[in-house]
Symmetry: C2
Subunit: 225 residues, 2 copies
Amino acid sequence: MTAYYLEHQKLYVSVDVIVFGFEENRLKVLIGRRQMDPGRGEWSLYGGFVAADEGIDECAERTLLELTGLKKLFIRQVGAFGAIDRDPGERVVSVAYYALINVKDYNEKLRLKHNVEWVDVNQLPTLYSDHNEMVCQALRRMQLKMRTEPIGFRLLPQLFTLTQLQRLYEAVNGQEIDKRNFRKRIKDMDFIEKTDLIDKDSSKRGAALYRFNKKAYKEDPNFKL
Amino acid sequence: MTAYYLEHQKLYVSVDVIVFGFEENRLKVLIGRRQMDPGRGEWSLYGGFVAADEGIDECAERTLLELTGLKKLFIRQVGAFGAIDRDPGERVVSVAYYALINVKDYNEKLRLKHNVEWVDVNQLPTLYSDHNEMVCQALRRMQLKMRTEPIGFRLLPQLFTLTQLQRLYEAVNGQEIDKRNFRKRIKDMDFIEKTDLIDKDSSKRGAALYRFNKKAYKEDPNFKL
DNA sequence: TCAAAAGTGTTAGATTTACACCCATGA
DNA sequence: TCATGGGTGTAAATCTAACACTTTTGA
């Protein structure tokens, strides 16, 4: 190591994950009560420290796997948070990531083990440190991304109805969408495929189930919502 | 300090700044030859380490002030870069920021002192570590931001002609714009004010000089380009 | 006198928005 | 039989994109 580095100080670097889920027509976030000091008992995002032998992206993936037990989730960085007093205990720079999961894929035992729960993103309590700000920025990022990339499907089951999809977009963007205009736009996207399966749970009449065809999307990626 | 932190390791955290400037109708970036090991002599962004007693945003501002001598510049975070082997010397997590300056405001002596120069963003050499990727992401961010917020003026003198403004947008987005459509959109934005001054340098006929009125923008912030 | 940049409107096409009724079914 | 959510098309309005000529003046 050159002398160059020695003049400087090292800091703790951590990762916090904003896990988004869609449930009861609401966009929700996984939060739990902190189980350690400082801030024990406060509502908080789930996170972990970056080890010297892992990249920050790997750390985020590891943390997310630890929390959810799920692999290959959609995850993106939000940014670094490094106000000097952001962590009351020590100097910690934290890198926030957001991830999307299908709530039904989340094992209930694991959820209870980590003592986290789904809370409506619009009704969050005050969170530990700067976590509210993290969620806020993550949400903005996700909203933007969802307009131009087909990531919303990550929040739904593989098979979904058009009404579910519409409610998802309404929940994420916080405003209602015209049903006919919405369905018109969906029809233009060939990679959102109608199956011949019918969902009978959500209505008496039954609704056609759709599926996102990733391969078809890659061949003609013209997504816009 | 609680035992909680002690189990973890600290890392070096640094900041790298992508300084954008507009010169000769091209979008340029400030880069220089690294003056220290590892990587001595390689093209590189300007950066610095985050000290224990400063926030990352303050560090970015300090670094930018050090480099440019200018205060109150527009600066935004791009994101954290933390691949395990990104720095060949030590484990360093770096947070990238981009900043916009008016090239003419940059003191030539300071530029020479730091041994940096303006290089066309589309003709960058291979840079140290992951700096090319940082520039790439910074550029994307900046392009997006410039469509919805009046930040382009930060790259121009206080008084500018409409052709200059158009060339700026063309350089940033890498595509030509129709002159009449561009000027029509500008006319709709009352906060881009025509002054009664004439620029005689750029053409024989002379072109009207315009000014961005920040106060007027805040009263009616309907920017779109 | 001519080269070079400034300045100026109109029209067709594409996109977006608003809007209302019938259908199928389980309770 | 009726309440509930599923499913469908059209027309007006807005926005976007394409396009060409006149003006001024320094060299």
